[in-house]
């Protein structure tokens, strides 16, 4: 059985890493919108293309990309050593890659309103 390090794709912490990143992203975008609107409300004429929205969309894409990268990277690394992994380690890899994908999708979906809605109404 392979030895563990925190960066191994089969380390159980991988199970919570993806959604934890989503959680941090979520806090940042919510806090960001709230503080931005408190400090500088207005800009309604631009609809949803304000600087706030653009920053949000960029940050969302970035985070989504990071999560997708994590999923891909961990999967590739695990596949290279697949035969040496125990069934449980394989289970953790599959589950954590799936969770990273879920986190990426949820990030994208929750960030979608930034494409449509103005920030401070």
């Amino acid at each position: 059985m392979q030895e563990y390090s925190l960066r191994s794709p089969y380390h159980p912490v991988q199970l919570v890493l993806g959604l934890s990143i989503w959680a941090v992203w979520f806090v940042i975008i919510y806090a960001g919108v709230s503080v931005a609107c408190e400090q500088r409300p207005g800009g309604l004429q631009q609809g949803s293309l304000t600087s706030v929205n653009l920053v949000l969309m960029a940050f969302t894409m970035l985070t989504c990309g990071l999560l997708l990268f994590m999923a891909h990277h961990n999967w590739r690394r695990a596949r290279r050593m697949w035969r040496a992994l125990s069934p449980t380690q394989r289970f953790i890899v599959r589950l954590s890659v799936a969770l990273d994908l879920v986190a990426a999708l949820v990030t994208l979906a929750v960030g979608l309103p930034a494409v449509v809605l103005p920030p401070c109404l």
């Binding site: 563990y4 989503w22 979520f26 919108v33 609107c37 449980t88 309103p113």
Partner: protein, 846 residues
């Protein structure tokens, strides 16, 4: 099912096994009479949680009946508004805090060790302590109702209504203090369940072969660890505002009532998933048994559980859609609230697929699970409706929401719970449930429930708000309310029949044999009712269905064929295993019966009463006494004569955990620090929130924090930690030379640091009653002082234990645990310094 009820029940007291049974009972036995107050065994404590929860359920239900009786007809006021307001507040509070969570925690406490092949939970005295906190807290809360001074501002206690100005009486204090007391039990159970599931599974039970119920409970417990502290903080802040005048929610002095809402719902939304997940876990456990096949999509279900647990923390603002938050921000929460339906849907269709591809048998529990499905789906769909912001604006705070929440809570929690009670009745009592009476109970409850709450959706759409003690006629609300009230009586009859049924058959039903439902999970391998030690010997497992693989396992276990089959060393033992692979690493020794939990909880209850009656000196004294008791309790650990002084283990067995560097205590400390960290982050959130968003945030003209002293205190903490860490490293290398001296030095540093913190306070110009700014800084300083003082005290105790010979090279475990606390203290000192001193410098410039 073969035969009447399968093989005859296990009787551990007979034959050869009888001698071993006596030996085990000498170590594990439960005393009777007054000494029963010292029982720490999870079977008893879990059962007591459930029984107490049942009692609170009945009391909460009674309150609901009074409410429905009043609302049956328009214009009634035989319950005057002040009494009515107490009733609906207490109904919600009792049901949510004193019934829903404790009952499910109790079930988890009862089942988890048995399902994972362990003999007890990992901190038995903590479970017992949690139970007593729950009982005393609940009693204090209900006493307020008996005295007519119960909380009366709704179970979410919105400010400013619940503040000192609008609720001058003690009503709100009962909630704030009583519920916080009860929450100690919830958080401690959460910590314990996480560590038990991760570290005490039987040999070979990998993460992948763990029963699904364990995954659900693991998720629930972690959600409790992160989700309850925001409310604990909020309650502390509100109580400080009410009792000491420190403003946090008062607009004029820089606070914001919406901060309370955020803190409450940060807890409140995860809370309902904390309630739903264990119930879904019950369904995931029962369904495969009655479908006679393994669940379809184990991995999908685990995926869904983890996803639900995380996403549920991103929904809280959907309870606040009408407070005027910008639309875009609301849309994030709206989207997340809809998305959470997907993992729920996956679980539902996993159950459906299991039935579809299995060979279903229809026993009593299945009736309740079917009822759950119908009701919960309806409730989930109205939930998705409510997630849509425009619709939410119409039905928020109306009876539509009342209908929705009862559908998801009663459907999603009560029905699976009753299914579980019927299913595990043979386990609790050794007797089978009925067939006829149970059907009456189900249909009355199901029919009555729908009659009450289905039409209530319409009542809300017709415009009836929540929490009104009466209503006028002619609005179209008359007949729906009457129907709901009639339905509530039918449902009450159903509940009565169910309880009667469980009672009668629990006492006098037909005797159950071994594994009467032919289930696959390990809990059915104990005797029924179980012996205090669960298993005579701990079997290895290699699949998710140990009892399907080897139906004769119960008898083999009882013959002592497997591991840890002796108890003549006088210790309570179970396996300590690797969290992923289930490889056995240590023998975990567990404490036996003790008075500490009961007495400590009692003194804390006395302290609460002191706080409630505003006798603050007396309360401080009680707090001091309880601290002494808790510390004295912690003294009886590890190598102490009352714990495990003799470290010898059987040949081939691993060492005792207290003689290694890992063990439940270390994990318990980490999980506790997570909870503590969640509380701290909530405080941090409050600070930044008020600073950026509070309507009348003000910086006092002459406010000054003595930052040089604060910097010194932080540096001392970091230094102390660094020294501690180095010493622990040397201990790992086998050196305990000068350990005691090093600990005394570190304790001294801690003492100096605490003094420095106090000096920081004195050197600062703060007026905590005048502005929120100063109030929050004060709370930060108090938080730091409390933590650093505890660090000092714990280190002192460690030094004393080295002197007494309980800690050293051969028992090196405890300093590693305390070091983590120092690390946390150092971290929060630094972060607070950055947030309070450094950040305003940058922000002020903007």
């Amino acid at each position: 099912m073969n035969g009447e009820y399968g093989r005859p029940a296990l009787d551990p007291a007979r034959g050869d096994a009888g001698r071993r049974h006596d030996e085990f009972n000498r170590v594990w036995g439960n005393p009777r009479g007054l000494r029963a107050l010292t029982i720490v065994n999870h079977t008893t404590v879990g059962r007591n949680f459930m029984l107490a929860g049942g009692v609170f359920f009945l009391l909460g239900g009674l309150m609901a009946m009074l409410i429905r009786t009043q609302l049956a007809l328009p214009g009634q006021d035989w319950l005057p508004p002040d009494i009515y307001n107490q009733l609906f507040t207490m109904h919600g509070t009792v049901m949510m805090f004193l019934f829903a969570v404790p009952v499910l925690e109790g079930l988890a406490m009862y089942l988890i060790p048995k399902m994972i092949g362990a003999r007890d939970l990992v901190f038995p005295r903590l479970s017992a302590f949690g139970f007593w906190c729950y009982i005393f807290g609940g009693t204090i809360l209900l006493a307020s109702l008996a005295l007519g001074i119960a909380p009366d501002t709704g179970w979410f206690m919105y400010t400013p209504l619940s503040g000192a100005e609008h609720t001058p009486g003690p009503n709100a204090d009962f909630w704030l203090i009583g519920i916080t007391f009860v929450e100690i039990s919830a958080v401690s159970a959460g910590v314990e369940l996480v560590v038990s599931i991760m570290r005490t599974r039987t040999r070979g039970m990998t993460l992948q072969t763990m029963p699904l119920f364990a995954w659900y409970i693991l998720a629930m417990a972690l959600m409790i660890v992160f989700g309850f502290p925001p409310l604990i903080l909020g309650s502390i802040l509100l109580e400080l505002e009410r009792a000491a005048g420190l403003p946090f929610f008062d607009v004029a002095r820089g606070g914001d009532p919406v901060l309370w809402q955020h803190l409450f719902w940060l807890f409140g939304h995860p809370e309902v998933y904390i309630i739903f997940l264990p119930a879904a876990g019950i369904v995931s456990t029962l369904l495969p048994v009655f479908a006679r096949r393994p669940i379809v999509g184990y991995r999908w279900v685990v995926l869904s559980v983890i996803t639900t647990a995380f996403i549920s923390f991103g929904l809280w603002v959907h309870h606040m859609f009408t407070i005027g938050i910008p639309q875009l921000a609301q849309a994030f929460f709206s989207m997340a609230s809809m998305l959470v339906a997907i993992p729920t849907g996956v679980q539902i269709f996993s159950w459906l697929a299991t039935l579809w591809t299995g060979r279903p048998v229809f026993h009593v529990p299945m009736l309740w699970i079917t009822g759950f499905l119908v009701i919960f789906i309806a409730g989930g769909l109205t939930g998705v409706m409510l997630a849509l912001v425009p619709f939410n604006w119409q039905v928020h705070d109306t009876h539509f929401v009342v209908a929705h929440m009862h559908y998801v809570l009663v459907g999603g929690m009560l029905f699976p719970l009753v299914a579980g009670l019927y299913y595990w009745l043979p386990h609790f009592t050794g007797r089978m449930p009925s067939r006829t009476l149970s059907r009456w109970g189900f249909w009355l409850t199901f029919g009555g429930f729908n009659l009450t709450f289905l039409v209530m959706h319409l009542t809300g759409l017709l415009g009836m708000p929540r929490r009104v003690y009466t209503y006028e006629t002619g609005l179209g609300w008359d007949w729906p309310n009457l129907v709901s009230s009639v339905g509530s009586f039918v449902m009450a009859a159903g509940v009565a029949v169910v309880l009667l049924d469980l009672l009668i058959h629990g006492l006098y039903g037909r005797r159950a044999g071994i594994n009467p439902w032919q289930a696959d999970t390990l809990e059915w391998a104990t005797a029924t009712p179980p012996s205090p030690y669960n298993f005579m010997s701990l079997p290895p497992v290699s699949s998710r269905h140990p009892l399907w693989d080897d139906p004769s396992l119960p008898e083999a276990i009882a013959e002592g064929r497997y591991a840890l089959a002796v108890a003549n060393h006088g210790r309570r033992e179970t396996w300590g295993s690797d969290p992923v692979s289930g490889r056995v690493r240590e023998v975990v020794h567990l404490p036996g019966n003790a008075w500490w939990p009961f007495v400590s909880a009692l003194v804390l209850a006395v302290m609460c009463i002191g706080l409630l009656s505003k006798q603050y000196l007396f309360a401080a004294l009680a707090a001091g006494v309880s601290l002494v008791l808790l510390l004295r309790w912690s003294w009886e650990n590890g190598a102490h004569p009352n714990a495990a002084p003799d470290a010898r283990t059987a040949e081939g067995d691993p060492p005792l955990h207290s003689r290694t560097f890992d063990g439940p205590g270390l994990w318990g400390m980490v999980v506790t620090l997570l909870a503590d960290g969640a509380l701290y982050m909530a405080l941090l959130f409050g600070w930044f929130y008020l600073w950026t968003v509070a309507p009348q945030w003000q910086l006092p003209a002459d406010s000054r924090v003595d930052w040089p002293l604060w910097l010194l205190a932080s540096a001392l903490m970091v230094g102390g930690w660094w020294l501690f860490r180095r010493r622990v490293q040397r201990l790992r290398d086998g050196e305990d030379e000068g350990l005691e001296r090093a600990l005394w030095l570190i304790a001294a540093i801690g003492l100096v640091q605490c003094v420095t913190l106090v000096a920081t306070w004195h050197g600062s110009v703060l007026a905590p009653r005048a502005t929120s700014h100063d109030a929050v800084i004060t709370v930060f300083l108090l938080y730091l002082l409390l933590h650093c003082a505890l660090a000092t005290v714990m280190t002192t105790l460690q030094a004393l234990r080295v002197r007494s010979g309980y800690v050293g090279r051969l028992a090196p475990y405890e300093p590693a645990v305390v070091e983590y606390w120092w690390a946390y203290c150092a971290l929060v000192c630094g972060v607070t310094f950055a947030a309070v001193v450094l950040w305003p410098l940058g922000w002020g410039g903007v």
